[in-house]
């Protein structure tokens, strides 16, 4: 195979299809930049999709739990080592992803005889000035994008992810009420989960009833990076009870 590069390219392409196929049933996650902080929302089984990484950093992911765990642990190790050997202020997503997670994921993805990571991620970094807040979309193959939009969706496939993101950006423009934002995110979650089109959406009532019904036996994981907190660790869990779902908080 080493003498036949085109077979390697084919193998990588097959691998990409395999990963996307495996992620197909994954439950989407969302990140929203707000004036008071950054919101991360997902539906999982409790401590399964949204995580605190460091003082101002958090992660939302979908994928295989063992792979999420490996990446989460690698990110936490790198962030704490950086903070200890330099300073907490030196921990940045640009360095964490660009020099740590991304090369690791890319190397793993291209080693075609080892199992690929089944994971899609969103990472968030809080700053004192909301204009400097960072959301980064990191993919299973190590590619990443620094988001220029206030809303980022993590889905298993690019098309529904993009459609959901476009719809949410429109719906959440100038919206700062956290409860309303979470309700809208969950509506988008339900639409994606049901494989419905954002071009021909069911009514708002149907969407709301839909997500409420679908989340009955699941845990609403709402992470909040709070800009107003005075302590170094800014991550808090928000109670999802008021939305009629089980809560991580």
């Amino acid at each position: 195979m080493n003498e036949e590069p085109y077979r390697w390219l084919e193998a990588v392409e097959n691998r990409r299809e395999y990963v996307r196929e495996q992620l197909k049933g994954g439950s989407p996650a969302f990140g929203v930049k707000l004036p008071d902080g950054i919101l991360l929302v997902a539906i999982g089984s409790g401590n399964s999709k949204v995580f605190e990484l460091f003082d101002r950093h958090a992660l939302a992911a979908l994928g295989h739990p063992a792979d999420i765990e490996k990446i989460r642990q690698a990110a936490i190790d790198a962030a704490h080592m950086e903070a200890f050997t330099r300073a907490p202020e030196d921990v940045s997503l640009r360095r964490l992803i660009g020099f740590g997670l991304s090369p690791q994921l890319k190397t793993n993805f291209e080693q075609i005889f080892s199992a690929p990571f089944l994971i899609e991620m969103l990472l968030a970094e809080l700053h004192n000035d909301p204009a400097n807040d960072v959301l980064v979309r990191l993919h299973f193959d190590g590619s990443f994008e620094f988001a220029t939009t206030p809303v980022v969706v993590v889905g298993a496939h690019p098309e529904p992810e993009k459609a959901a993101q476009t719809w949410l950006i429109e719906q959440l423009a100038d919206q700062t009420d956290r409860e309303r934002i979470i309700d809208t995110l969950l509506q988008a979650w339900w639409v994606m989960r049901e494989n419905k089109s954002f071009a021909e959406l069911p009514s708002e009532e149907d969407r709301r009833n839909g997500w409420r019904e679908a989340t009955k036996d699941r845990v609403l994981e709402i992470g909040w990076l709070d800009r107003k907190l005075k302590r170094p660790a800014r991550f808090v869990w928000l109670a999802g009870d008021k939305f009629g779902a089980k809560s991580e908080a």
């Binding site: 460091f54 642990q73 190790d77 704490h80 200890f84 660790a233």
Partner: protein, 263 residues
């Protein structure tokens, strides 16, 4: 690479070959040797139970020999949301211990998705003191800290005080603990107040406890040149933190000023 223990920050550091408080870093001098640096030390820190929780306080002076280095040191440090450390001894080592503890406890909480238990936190400090043994034996890095943490196994959670010897032995304080060069004075007054005083420290409300704390420090500074005391005229107050079922809270200089005046 050494094998890493899950959630243990010291073993992560070790696996990455980052040295912490290790013997090979200790200079080969003994206390009083001609090359021995003048140590920045001497302090008064103490903690006692009041009716809502634990109050931990310290003066803010750092001295080196007969020189006052600064009157603005914070010797009582938040380690995490439910534990505080008061340092007495050589600041270079003590602040490093505090930094290791802060990172270790948060690392454990984030990586293991649960809080480190109070006994584990208490032992973590004992472990750091033991790892500092070469510096302690050479007399250039002695640290004798106090630690307060919230025991969440009880309902409601109870704040507890612990004190240590320089070699790392840990003891739970029943009513109070003190450390540093001015601690003798403090211990005597706390003992007297607990036996014969009214109210006893454990019966004091927050205002009484803070007022009592500031008076304790003023008294200690009269007998110990290395204890800074407080000076309302220059707005120099102590570092005071309280730990109760809700966690750690810092009593600001403004609050201390108000409490001292009985407001």
């Amino acid at each position: 690479m050494t094998e890493q223990i899950a959630g243990d920050f010291l073993s992560l550091l070790s696996s990455q070959r980052v040295p912490v408080l290790t013997a090979e870093r200790a200079p080969a001098v003994s206390n009083g040797g001609t090359n021995a640096p003048v140590q920045t030390q001497a302090t008064t820190v103490f903690a006692f139970h009041y009716n809502d929780g634990v109050l931990m306080a310290g003066d803010r002076r750092a001295t080196a020999g007969n020189v006052i280095v600064t009157d603005r040191v914070d010797k009582v440090i938040d380690i995490d949301a439910t534990s505080i450390l008061a340092i007495a001894g050589v600041p270079a080592t003590a602040f490093e211990m505090a930094r290791v503890m802060q990172t270790s406890f948060e690392y454990y909480r984030r990586s293991q998705l649960q809080n480190l238990s109070l006994p584990a936190k208490v032992r973590a400090l004992a472990r750091l003191l033991r790892e500092n043994l070469p510096m302690t034996m050479q007399g250039v890095g002695v640290v004798v800290p106090l630690f307060a943490g919230l025991d969440t196994q009880t309902n409601p959670p109870q704040p507890l005080i612990f004190f240590y010897d320089p070699l790392g032995a840990q003891f739970q304080a029943v009513g109070y603990a003190a450390s540093g060069s001015g601690s003798g004075t403090i211990r005597s007054i706390l003992s007297y107040q607990e036996k014969y005083g009214s109210p006893k420290p454990s019966e004091m409300n927050l205002q009484q406890a803070v007022q009592f704390t500031l008076r304790l420090l003023m008294t200690a500074s009269e007998f110990d040149a290395a204890t800074g005391g407080i000076n309302p005229e220059t707005n120099t107050y102590a570092t005071i933190k309280v730990l109760d079922a809700d966690g750690v809270r810092t009593i600001s200089a403004e609050e201390q000023s108000g409490f001292l005046k009985g407001r």
